[in-house]
């Protein structure tokens, strides 16, 4: 029996689950609703987001959220019957997450 590499993906999934549950709603509400509604001054937020450390954190949130989603989608599709293509499916999901992370890096850095 081969040792599994699943712990790696599962750790990302777990960390991503934590991050998405805690930070993502806050970010969405803040940038999607509070700022457009004028609750927070845009310039104030702009200064915050110009801080390199904050940008790095946002990239981290995007990275873990993407890999969390990729893992969940991969296993859900497998459960729904895509067992025969499990390996290409895994490659596709994580490649998409990687692409998303690179895209996020290009945007925020």
């Amino acid at each position: 029996m081969r040792p599994s590499n699943e712990p790696f993906w599962w750790a990302m999934f777990g960390a991503g689950g934590m991050i998405t549950a805690l930070l993502l709603p806050v970010l969405i509400i803040l940038t999607g609703f509070v700022v457009p509604a004028g609750g927070v001054d845009f310039n104030q937020l702009d200064t915050l987001f110009n801080n390199p450390l904050v940008r790095l954190i946002i990239l981290g949130v995007a990275f873990l959220s993407f890999f969390h989603a990729a893992h969940r989608i991969r296993h859900t599709l497998k459960d729904l019957g895509l067992r025969s293509v499990a390996t290409p499916l895994a490659v596709l999901c994580y490649a998409a997450a990687l692409a998303g992370t690179i895209w996020a890096a290009l945007v925020v850095l």
Partner: protein
Amino acid sequence: MTTETMTDQRTVTLEVFRYHPDTDSEPSFQSYEVPYREEWVVLDALNWLKDEVDGTLSYRWSCRMGVCGSCGTMVNGYPRLTCNAFLREFLPGPIRVEPLRGFPVERDMVTVLDDFMEKLTDVKPYIIREEEQSLDEGEYRQSPSQLADYKQFSMCINCTLCYAACPVYEHEDDFLGPAVLALAQRYNLDSRDQGNEQRQQLIWADEGIWDCTFVGECSEVCPKDVDPAAAIQQAKVDATNNFFISFLPFTPPGMGR
């Protein structure tokens, strides 16, 4: 218990899965009217049928009190012990009785358990010692908190309801499944046991804990509150810690196994 459902119902319909491989080309359902009694469980109705109507009806049972684990059956599509599934829960009926899902059928409600038994044996569900301590050293002592670590997982009665509830077991032939993994964890967590490494290779493989996608139905249906899903999650955390630690050039104190 006896006051809840007052009913005038005299009989209830049982739709029973019938399959005798020697004579039947395929399974079918047969309907029977059985007497309704408030204190009867599905097993009582099956026993009545076997005694009074059709002696060829086959199903497993023994203790009639949720201890032996042999009477697992699908009752209205849900994995149950027939000895603690009251007829009154399913009024007005009909009540559909089928063999546990995910297992080959031997005859009527009797399933073939070979796959489960082999997997159970594979994880060595017993205390393994590198060296037995000599008799004059006395018993292996265990504190209440050491006992509490694994006690819940030791309550399993091998009824296989969790296997019938698990969508992964149904599709992945090699998956060890909930109860086997919970029992492996039960011995891994026992302070007297030293067999962790012997079980690891099997339970940390894809076919072990990693095939589990945390559907969680196993813990829902377990009549003994074993919570196999929790056992699997615990084992995933152990496996993951170990995975990352294995890349370190040294073993952090307290982390070695």
